[in-house]
Amino acid sequence: MKRIFNVLMIIMFILVFISFSSFANFRQEVVVDKWKIPFLNCVTGPIASIGEYMSWSANRAANEINLAGGIAGKPVKVVNYDTGVSPDKAVEEMAKLVDSALVVMGPVPEACIMASVPLAARKGLFCMTASTSYEYAIKYFPWTLSWFPPTDEKLPPITATWAKKHPDMKTVVQFLEKWACWPEMAKAHAIGIKSAGVKMLKDVEVPTDAVIFGPLVVKALAQNPDGIMLTCNAEKAAKIIIELDKNGWKDKSKILVFSSADDTSLYTTGGKYLEGVSVYNYINPDCENPRWIAFRKAYKEDHNGIEPGSLSTIYYDCVYMLKEAIENTGVTGDPTKLAKERIKIRDYCRNIKGFKGIQLTWDMKNGIPSDKGTFLFIIKNGKKKLIALAGKTK
């Protein structure tokens, strides 16, 4: 027995040694026969479900492109790297990429962006971060770009639109989960609601590990609000709506769910209690674009009929944007020209004109999209029905 373990130990030491030496072979092969795009995603951890659909949509775009002949004639492959939502893992994964990758998709949640993008910026690697918030991307400009306009420009118009649709609503209480960028979004929501002449009552904080929601709902209702704004995770939002219903809340359209909660688990958890609730988001499920229709159909087939999530289009668009950038700037993928080509892609993506996304067409100006709209929906028969569009300029 003892001898077996001694042998095992020796084998393990050898393995460690081999793995050390394998670091030396980390560089990419010289001849590029395939575009390997690393995707710093979160496929494990608390938001693994979001990571799953982001990865699904990126792969769908890659497959479409490959069927249509690839990027500059060569096939593209999205390679997943997992951050597990922990910033230290994000840095480790980014460290694998900074010496060799042409461009990076991700990292995905805000904490990982903040932790790992400084390293990428130091090494001159462009990151297509996923954040819904401009605030986290701008710190590292020009090495990142933002998918959305600044929060305080994009959110107030939509909450104001909602508030104006209910003239009898005098006071609103906001449920706020202090997670990542949500407090910033909550502030922007409040600005919009106040601009419509509605009073904001004291926020109700939702603990991240809340198990039951009765106490929170009681606390909110004790303030006698006319309207409810939900800035918390999808499952929690749904449970709060159920709890409100049990407490006798009648007018569901005076409940507004924010974009990050417009997720599958909102609908699976909320069920029939969601009937009539208002929701805002950045994509429109009933968009007429044929690419979107095909995308939505395929997504639902692969996910038991679940609708695509609010961030699902970002990396679909991202892969197409990279295709455009590589083809229009003549990037070859040759490792010897890595630094120059990284900058070429960066400069192209940050100032793209008339990019045709799967739903909208927009311009990028210095890494910021100038005219992306926000949609306001009402839930009818378990489906979102568009009632207003705010913030789109053309």
């Binding site: 003892k2 460690v16 793995s19 480790e92 904490a111 903040m114």
Partner: protein, 295 residues
Amino acid sequence: MPTVLSYFLGFTAIYILMCWAIYLPYRVGQLYFTTVACMAIVAYFSGFAAREWGWPFIFVLLVGIAIGAIIAYILSHAIGKAPCFTVVIVGLAFIFIVKTVIENWELLGGTVGFFGIPPVNNLLLIAYILLGIVGFVIYQIDHSRLGRAASVVFVDRDAAASLGVNIKSLGMFYQTIAGAIGGMAGVLYTFLLGSLSPEFFAFAMVGSLVCMLFVGGYTTMWGVIVSAPILGGIPILLPVTISSWRQVIYGILLVLIILVRPEGLITKRMLWNLKGKNRYKTASNLVNTRREKVG
């Protein structure tokens, strides 16, 4: 040096330090997770001191170690000789409290994290020098009267007390050292990453540290030196399809090692056998020698 290798080495040093910080109090049978909380507090402190007050690294390091030790020392008055599970729950609760405080303190960046900590030159070198020093100190402790007393306490508390071992002061001593090492790891972590997030100091961290300690072996200080690079290296070395299952791998390894080899890969007896049989006459060694005579 490739970037990824330098990060790998840096994380390995920090993991080894943290595992040692858990290993030391476990010498007296206490699973002491408070050290992770100490690490979090010191990490945030050092990040803040370096970014906002512009303190030099060495100063931050010394103050950080002192803070870790002081926190652990104060707590150890209450839990110096507490039973294991009290220590476990104090540690976990303390981690949880520290984490929640950080998450709700806007000055420290909340749930998003704390960023923009200035980098330090030759951090890896410093980390490994510190690792060497700490290792030397732990070796000295293990081979002193204190270490032998701790071994007795681990096996039988009542017997140790009857032999005149002051369990409380022994526990306090180990906990304080653990807090200091935790503080050191916190400072190194801060400057290695340049950013901090409350997510890091969470339950998953406790899980991986326990896994490294128990897989490597908790009876000697050498076990974690083997297990930390291997287990910590899983996410770096293996492809994502495997490494995304790292938590499952850790969990299964942990259960397996306790079933198959409860003292971990590297045990005291194994080291004795490597050194030669004559130096330590223990009961188990005597059995072995007798077996050889019989056979």
